[in-house]
């Protein structure tokens, strides 16, 4: 019986891991292909509604503000498990929670849009150009997850004293959203481009460094999603290797194929450690590093997984090629790996 080495974590995380895994297996696995091929808004919404039972729709909002109150690592644990079945839904949840994060951290008047009401998935308009002038929002965001079909959008304007973030309803005047014409992967997270001209905000949020918090959440979350993708690639490729006969023996008996699989296993180990470590630090650098490393590993694992499947891996039916597409988008958002690398040095230099 093949199993992943035990990853040491506290009881509470283990319990969460188990419930997230059952949610993914029961709700997402049966419709993984549809969520990729025809990710209709109703289908995605229904899947996300079920995730609310795990507290995933307000995971990073503290309990006293009516949220799920998960810590960063718990959130990552749940995302990893969800991504094992459907990375697109995991990223939709991540983007939604990142969009709620400024409200969770900051101060504002009234209720948080999106918490305690049927208002998901929220879109985090990042990265892009966002300006708040005379109380109105102007923005150009070329690519954001959950953009297509979101009820509201969180934006982080640059250089605005006092206000650190705003939320805008997607049906407000001056807001236009264009769905990505043909997304490569993570389709359940319905990416799109946003434009706002003089849009009226519904919440003005003040507080600390929202940008840093949101970025860190994205990097951490995507690191965890990447680990989920590696696990899925390993699981699928391993199962296939054990059932497929090739050149006089089962694929699993071919040494080169064992090396591919072992690399995936190493990726899970390394990926989990990096994610866990970066969750324990409040700094951005560890999260950036985990994201770079894990997503690169995920792209390689998915590509190798397709290779182990041969022709079957390239065909939609086997669900393997989807991982190659999903993993690549995890590596391409919210920044590029080289820009992230340069960022690391900037952080080093500026302290």
């Amino acid at each position: 019986m093949a199993r992943l080495p035990e990853f040491r974590e506290e009881q509470e995380y283990r319990i969460l891991r188990d419930s997230a895994a059952s949610f993914a297996a029961d709700v997402l696995a049966p419709q993984a292909e549809e969520l990729d091929l025809q990710p209709a808004p109703w289908r995605v919404k229904k899947a996300l509604a079920k995730a609310d039972e795990l507290g995933m729709l307000s995971a990073l909002v503290p309990e006293e503000k009516g949220g799920g109150g998960l810590d960063d690592y718990a959130f990552c644990v749940a995302l990893e498990e969800i991504a094992v079945e459907e990375a697109g839904v995991a990223v939709a949840l991540l983007a939604h929670n990142a969009a709620l994060l400024p409200a969770a951290l900051g101060e504002f008047e009234g209720l948080i849009t999106g918490v305690g009401e049927e208002s998901y998935p929220a879109c985090l308009a990042f990265p892009g150009e966002v300006a708040l002038r005379e109380g109105k929002v102007n923005a150009r965001v070329p690519f954001a997850f959950n953009a297509d079909g979101c009820p509201f959008i969180t934006l982080i304007p640059t250089q605005e004293a006092g206000t650190r973030a705003v939320t805008v309803r997607s049906d407000a005047a001056g807001v236009s959203i264009e769905a990505e014409a043909y997304p490569l992967g993570l389709r359940a997270a319905r990416p799109g481009a946003l434009k706002m001209e003089g849009a009226e905000p519904s919440n003005l949020i003040s507080g600390g460094d929202m940008l840093g918090a949101v970025e860190r959440a994205l990097f951490l979350g995507l690191s965890a999603v990447a680990v989920g993708i590696i696990r899925n690639a390993l699981r699928k490729a391993y199962a296939y290797a054990r059932e497929r006969y090739q050149a006089g023996k089962m694929i699993i008996e071919h040494q080169q194929m064992r090396i591919f699989l072992a690399e995936m296993l190493a990726g899970v180990e390394e990926g989990r450690s990096l994610t866990r470590e970066s969750c324990s630090s409040r700094e951005l650098a560890p999260a950036v590093t985990a994201w770079m490393r894990n997503t690169a590993r995920a792209v390689q694992a998915a590509t190798d997984g397709v290779q182990i499947h041969g022709g079957y891996g390239y065909m939609r039916d086997y669900g393997m090629e989807r991982l190659m597409r999903d993993a690549k988008y995890c590596q391409m958002y919210p920044t590029t790996s080289q820009e992230a690398l340069l960022r690391l040095l900037d952080i080093y230099e500026t302290g």
Partner: protein, 491 residues
């Protein structure tokens, strides 16, 4: 291929391919013919492939059964279906057949890997008819392809070897010997009864003629591996489904179903039992290099879109102004040059080998017999007879030596896996550097990312190709044996 007046693009091609530039000094007409082919492919890209590539790719995700016949009819004007058919039969294949093929597929695949494959898969289907020396079918099948092409009707061929339970296994003698073969062509009176399935056959659902390799005894696949010519319309033969592929969608990957299909003796290409040599190894020795060219073409397309992206201003600055993007562009350029060296090294070598046969007076003299006679039934029966095939075998052995064919298989396998791996890495890196940029170029590079992966899989996985290189060049255990007259096999 008539010599063309050298255009500026032609001169640039000679600079892009230094090997061709060097040959040009010795063989002006031949090399300019090749340049002409590439220019025609570029014209096809501009007018046919590029305007439809993205839309077609997306449409075929929603409607996998759809096939764009229009692009194939257009391809007739450029005579892309005659690339592997010898000049004596009215085709375009001359002493640079393999190189011409490789250059054209690189060019076509730079626009769309799927459209390039749809066109190239046809020539792959033609190849076993040529390589097995099945001259009895040349005057009918190949003649029909050439004549219909002139009228704008694509008559297509496909090549079928992969079975649901054996892909890599059927491409290597050592593996074929222990493969679990599902399809069997059982010997019956007058021919064979075929039952079973082939899968992932590129162009299989559109082809009128299919060259297929199969065992006549499933328990001894290596010894009984045989090449057949299958015609659409044979009773019991159907193509029930096509796959939804990640990329290269413009060309279908089809399942072929054989339900008690009768194939007459006349449709055995070469002798029964010659299939591993004339149906697999010689074909792979010719085709794997062009697969390297497919990968190179897809990578080149991605490079060009990446370059266009880098030159677009974004937020007031251009990516190309950054040092790291320039370094990446230089790396990618180097990879493309390396790939071209690899596949040209194979294809020019391959041409040197085939040239012996196709330009030899002995070969040409066979075509001095009037076509009226060559196309007649008695002549075909003569060629199809035991001794007729034996005579062709003697000639093939005389023209093409085992060690040359083995060397070609080695170079082809090397070009295939190295070009495909390089191309995969190049495209993946381009996307990594672009990120989720709003540029329209990204969609093209994303498509290339999906398209290029297949080049690591088909025509033998890259692992099998590594093994083929090892076995031929390093260990010396794999030798291609051109089927000899009246020898081996099950007869």
């Amino acid at each position: 291929m008539a010599a063309t007046v050298m255009s500026e693009r032609g001169r640039k091609l000679l600079r892009d391919f230094p090997a061709l530039g060097a040959l040009h000094e010795h063989d002006r007409k031949g090399i300019e013919g090749l340049i002409g082919l590439v220019e025609r492919a570029a014209e096809y890209n501009r007018d046919v492939a590029l305007p439809r590539a993205l839309e077609l790719d997306e449409r075929m995700e929603r409607e996998p059964d759809y096939f764009d016949w229009e692009m194939m009819r257009e391809a007739c004007k450029y005579r892309f279906f005659s690339l592997a058919i010898p000049e004596v039969l009215g085709g375009l294949a001359n002493k640079y057949m393999v190189t011409g093929m490789a250059l054209v597929v690189e060019e076509l695949c730079s626009a769309c890997g799927g459209i390039g494959l749809a066109i190239a898969a046809h020539s792959l289907g033609v190849a076993p008819l040529i390589a097995s020396g099945a001259m009895a079918h040349w005057e009918t099948v190949l003649h029909e392809i050439v004549e219909e092409e002139k009228k704008g009707n694509p008559v297509l061929m496909a090549y079928a070897i992969t079975e649901p339970s054996a892909g890599t296994d059927v491409e290597e003698p050592e593996f074929l010997a222990v493969a679990r073969i599902g399809l069997e062509a059982k010997r019956v009176k007058g021919g064979y009864r075929v039952n079973g399935r082939k899968c992932f056959i590129s162009g299989g659902s559109e082809a009128k003629y299919i060259t297929m390799t199969a065992a006549t005894d499933r328990s001894r696949p290596l010894e009984t591996w045989t090449t057949f010519l299958v015609e659409r319309g044979m009773e019991g033969f159907s193509t029930p489904r096509v796959e939804l592929k990640m990329g290269q969608r413009a060309c279908h990957a089809a399942e072929l179903l054989f339900e008690d299909v009768f194939i007459p003796h006349s449709h055995v290409l070469g002798y029964e039992g010659d299939g591993i040599a004339n149906g697999i190894l010689i074909i792979m020795a010719a085709s794997r290099g062009p697969v390297g060219a497919i990968a190179t073409g897809i990578a080149r397309g991605a490079f060009e879109h990446f370059l266009a992206w880098a030159r677009e201003p974004a937020n007031g600055k251009k990516p190309i102004d950054e040092d790291r993007i320039r370094m990446a562009l230089a790396d990618m350029y180097a990879v493309l040059e390396e790939n071209r060296g690899l596949y040209l090294g194979h294809s020019l070598g391959g041409d040197a080998l085939f040239r012996n046969a196709f330009t030899h007076p002995l070969f040409l003299s066979a075509f001095m017999i009037p076509r009226r006679i060559r196309a007649s039934k008695p002549y075909a029966s003569l060629l199809n007879s035991y001794y007729g095939k034996g005579l062709v075998n003697i000639l093939f052995r005389y023209f093409i030596k085992d060690e040359d064919a083995t060397d070609m298989l080695a170079k082809a396998s090397l070009a295939k896996f190295a070009c495909a791996d390089n191309a995969m890495a190049l495209v993946s890196r381009a996307l990594e550097l672009m990120g989720t940029t709003p540029s329209p170029q990204r969609r093209w590079v994303e498509k290339a990312y999906r398209d290029v992966k297949l080049t690591q899989i088909y025509e033998g996985t890259n692992q099998l190709n590594r093994l083929a290189l090892y076995n031929t060049e390093i260990a010396g255990t794999l030798k291609v044996e051109i089927p000899g007259p009246f020898k081996k096999g099950v007869r």
